[in-house]
């Protein structure tokens, strides 16, 4: 165990200390912050701090309150009442207001409003007049009714057998399966790339021959897989940490619940599919690394299993439209596609328990078989510098061990 730890530590530290890793880790949060800053700038450019004005020709809002019912997220503005259209237009001409909304006499029948503006009014002007109309039309109603109509309904989708349900407002429940698939792809691409590089480099620079006189090939392989997988997970954790900080910040500002919590089903999905998925791909990457002669060839060969991994996204339309179609079922059972397909299906359909359990079992069995094959391939291919090792050589390679 100590030697596995030493290899793990070496692999991990050498990767996380590289400029490439630090850049990759920081680039995502920086991009998010940059995108947010750009969004804020864009919104601020599209909004005006000038008040909005209105003229009520319908007579329904004669004694209406112009106080805003709710805080506007993109900037509060005042709403000014004008007695007639020309007074409002004068104020608009003198740029005292950004827009003049004229509520038409037949508003209650048609909802007609004419807006006057020198240039396109900001979104806050539209939201302000909408808020004014809604709150005043509902002024005579009970507070609970006002609240319900303003905030809308909370629809929960539930399967017939009651095995699954999701609230339209619980965004995390809906997004979790997609997020897990996406996270899997990101982490395995980062870790797998590092792992492949590590194995090919050691084979190319002949370090492997020295290392295996100190540790067993299995110890070397395990340390490498764990070390490089941890690099990808570290990157992911840092991103998630930034995301959590961002969500917590949004929660404080908007007083709404943005921070999700994990359910046992979601944890089962991680342990049953994502974890063996990592092991499966890592073992296959190792196998490729020791079987080929250089990095270019390694990258080409590794496409054989990285492409199936992302294939469910190509068929996302079909999977989401027909989650119980035989193709969807097959993709959610086949180990290389199950990690992404099964969560997709679970998010929108009631998947039979036997299929979920089968996917778990098949992925775990494949992962363990791939590990065993990788260990054998590692012994067989680690000192083969001149030619690529074929799969049948690994399968029949006992005489070389």
């Amino acid at each position: 165990m100590k030697k596995i730890w030493l290899i793990f530590k070496y692999e991990y530290v050498r990767r996380v200390k590289t400029r490439g890793f630090i850049f990759a880790v920081l680039s995502m949060p920086l991009l998010v912050v940059l995108a947010m800053v750009m969004a804020v700038i864009s919104v601020s450019l599209q909004t005006s701090k000038l008040p909005a004005g209105y003229v009520d020709l319908s007579g329904n809002f004669a004694n209406a309150s112009t106080q805003a019912a709710a805080a506007n997220l993109i900037g509060d503005i005042d709403l000014i009442t004008f007695s007639d259209v020309s007074a409002g237009q004068d104020a608009l001409a003198e740029e005292q207001i950004q827009a003049l909304f004229v509520i038409q006499p037949d508003y209650m029948q048609t909802g007609a409003i004419i807006a006057y503006a020198n240039e396109r009014p900001g979104d806050n002007a539209y939201e302000r007049i909408q808020d004014f109309l809604q709150s005043n039309l509902l002024a005579g109603e009970d507070a609970q009714v006002r609240e319900r109509i303003t905030r809308g309904s909370n629809i929960t989708v539930r399967s017939l057998d009651g095995s699954r349900q999701a609230s339209m407002r619980d965004w995390f429940v809906v997004l979790y399966p997609f997020l897990t698939g996406l996270i899997f792809i990101i982490v395995i691409n980062i870790s797998g790339g590092y792992l492949l590089q590590s194995v090919v480099d050691e084979k190319e620079n002949r370090t492997m021959e020295v290392i295996i006189t100190s540790v067993s090939p299995e110890q070397l392989m395990t340390g490498k897989i764990l070390g490089n997988l941890s690099v990808g997970l570290t990157q992911l954790l840092i991103w998630l940490l930034f995301a959590a900080i961002g969500l917590a910040g949004m929660q404080m500002i908007y007083r709404a619940n943005f921070v999700p919590s994990l359910t046992p089903d979601q944890i089962a999905l991680f342990v049953g599919l994502i974890l063996p998925g990592f092991i499966l791909i890592a073992a296959l990457m190792t196998l490729v690394g020791v079987s080929v002669t250089d990095m270019r060839e390694a990258q080409q060969v590794s496409l054989l299993f990285t492409l199936p991994m992302v294939a469910p996204y190509w068929f996302a339309g079909a999977l989401l439209q027909h989650p119980n179609h035989p193709l969807s079922v097959i993709m959610s059972l086949f180990p290389l596609t199950a990690v992404v397909s099964m969560p997709m299906r679970i998010s929108i359909a009631s998947v039979p328990l036997w299929q979920i359990l089968s996917a778990y079992v098949l992925t775990w069995v494949s992962a363990l078989a791939a590990l065993k094959l990788a260990a054998r391939g590692f012994r067989r291919g680690m000192l083969q510098y001149q030619h690529r090792i074929r799969l049948n050589e690994i399968l029949k390679g006992k005489t070389h061990e």
């Binding site: 030493l6 002949r206 000192l383 070389h400």
Partner: protein, 301 residues
């Protein structure tokens, strides 16, 4: 104490038999030279000793039994091809390789400082390995082989890329280790180095042992009826026992008649008043023996 005991090992790759019935032993405090042409089976034999390959048949005992993980810390290996991490500093590389040999950090630091000083690498300690010359990398590789003071050391072409000064340093190190009781197997193509350092040699060709034993014994076994003579004047003709004489660069080579005694020839030359600078019974060099054996003129051990 017997450190290595190899009995009748064979190893095939597909239809090619790389090693065929090889047996030998190595004692502590001994340097065994493993020599042979390219593709003779030396590296395969070494890899079987190190448990990288398993023999198809026969047995390998290292440090008292089959090679296992617990014994790896007591073995040092210098492969023919350099095997160092290129993108990290020399210090980091050597510390890591020592750590997986089970060396405590403090002891590694202490020995590393000594070794770097001994091999004139102290000032390159923080340099990336890829920035070092081939010779420096070879010395670094030698440090990784010996830093944990192994009981068995296997070195494959230890002098490659080294200049005469560094070659001497490595020879001194090998002799010191032998004196400390380390069993050393040295695989090399440089016969003069083998001749100088090895107590015994094992000449393999086509997977078989062609010749083995102490070097002096082997040279006597291959000794020819020839005498090398260096004298102030050419030798007189008709010396009894001498068939004919050939003049070479710095000496004369006298070919003896069958059954003639070198001692009798020497007495005759002295009696004839020739002043001698050198009189030597010509023994073949290891190079000559190697060529003779490999080209089919030798005997199998």
């Amino acid at each position: 104490m017997q450190v290595v005991q190899v009995e009748n090992i064979t190893k095939s790759f597909g239809n090619v038999r790389a090693v065929n019935g090889v047996s030998f032993t190595v004692e502590s405090g001994e340097i065994l030279g493993l020599i042979g042409p390219n593709g003779a089976g030396k590296t395969t034999t070494i890899r079987m000793l190190l448990d990288i390959f398993k023999p198809d048949s026969g047995s390998v005992a290292v440090l008292g039994g089959p090679m296992d993980e617990s014994k790896k810390n007591r073995v040092g290996y210098l492969p023919e091809e350099r095997g160092l991490y290129q993108d990290i500093s020399l210090e980091k590389c050597l510390v890591y390789l020592a750590s997986i040999k089970g060396m405590p950090a403090a002891l590694t630091e202490e020995r590393l400082t000594d070794y770097l000083q001994r091999f004139d690498l102290t000032e390159y300690r923080k340099r990336k390995v890829k920035d070092l010359s081939k010779g420096m990398q070879q010395k670094a590789q030698i440090i990784t082989t010996f830093i944990h003071q192994p009981q068995l050391v296997i070195v494959d072409e230890p002098f490659s890329a080294l200049d005469p000064l560094n070659t001497q340093m490595v020879k001194d190190l090998l002799r010191e280790e032998r004196a400390r009781g380390t069993a050393i197997i040295m695989s090399t193509h440089q016969m003069n180095q083998a001749e100088e350092l090895c107590d015994r040699i094992l000449l393999v060709d086509k997977g078989r042992i062609m010749l083995s034993g102490p070097i002096d014994q082997i040279r006597r076994q291959f000794a020819r009826p020839e005498i090398l003579i260096k004298s102030s004047a050419p030798l007189p003709a008709n010396i009894p026992g001498i068939q004919h004489i050939e003049i070479e660069n710095h000496h004369q080579r006298a070919f003896l008649e069958p059954g003639a005694s070198p001692q009798a020839v020497l007495n005759e030359i002295i009696q004839r008043g020739v002043l001698l600078d050198q009189f030597e019974v010509a023994q073949p060099t290891l190079d000559e023996i190697f060529i003779q054996v490999v080209t089919g003129g030798g005997t199998q051990a």
